[in-house]
Amino acid sequence: VLSVSLGDLAGAYLEAIGDLTGDRLRHLSAFISVAAQLILIKSRALLPRPPEPPVGREQEPDPETELRERLILYRIHRDAAQRLAARLETGLRLHRREAAAALAAGRAGVSGYVARPLDPDLLPAALAGLIAIAPLPEPEPQLVRRTITLAERTAVLREALRNAPAVVLQDLLEGTRDRVLAAVTFLALLELVKQREVEVEQLIPWGPIECRLVTGPAAS
């Protein structure tokens, strides 16, 4: 440890850290831990030490021994990792039966081994084919504006009364499901009453509304 320059070591380490991307804080803290241990070992090796430890004081673990053991332990596992890597390189792996996947692949006629790589142009062609067979989306429903005028409905009422002496409003609107049409017709009828052109009669509430043309002096 006396021959190792800690300054050079720190310089080399910082240079390596500089090349790293991402979270470097963890690597720095690990280095500080190792460097502190090295400094302690080196300082103890350089400075004179008492010949015997004080009586009654527990012997502290020797950091140099600790570090050496740790490095040996690391080397052992690093070597083991290299042997595992060599084993991995051979590609002699095990395969298990994957029943569900194998069954699905068999049904689909899939073979895992493809002799020649597929042409990448097949992908856009397949997409174009898919688009061609896809049904067009349903058009969104549109709201159509409709205009029903009092004049139109007044004309209808006049025409009905011209052909008959009396008209029942409910009969005139029979089959009409449009509430707006019914309402405007009713308003047109009221307008004709207001103008004294038509008179109406309803004997019972909700009963038939009978309409007649006004005759005589009132009509003029």
Binding site: R93, H95, A99
Partner: protein
Amino acid sequence: VTEEDALARLSGAEPGPGETELRARDLEALLFIAERPLSRTEIRGLAGVDRETLDEVLGDLEVDLRDRGIRLVLSEDRVELATAPDAAPLLSRYLGADSFRLSPSALETIAIVAYRQPVTRALIERIRGVDSDHVLRSLLHRRLIVEHSRGEGVGRPIRYATSFEFLERFGITSLDDLPPLEAEVAERLVSDGSEEGSEVEAG
């Protein structure tokens, strides 16, 4: 009642009445149709045999399969059938190329887990001397290691172990087949075990 016993009971793996015999060929058939590794408890429950009998039959089956294209794979309490490592070249031609690479740091970490399992992150970092959180997460994500158990010390740290995926990837049928460490070193690791264990729990 352990969790595994409870699961075995729920899955209907209760001992059948009068079933006291288990032949190696029956066990082979059972493992052949199983869609996952089976625990010894499950097999014992299904066959109605005791632990010694099952171990004996597993040993017989392992010997029977030694020269066959399939192997018995054992990981702790669990058992499965897998293809023999030397059949891999042919199978890879059928299944397609399967490139699998691990970084040096991942290999170092998995070596420590493999030889010292179950092992905490603290011990891994003590051996490697660097933070190993990221590499552990990566190995977990690749299903090469699993969270095995929890330590008894402060914070109950997670203890990691290798998985079936690890055995399959490295072509190993049992952890006993791992490449041996140096003899002296292995001795030292064994003698260090208890001391290191207590240190790890505290970390």
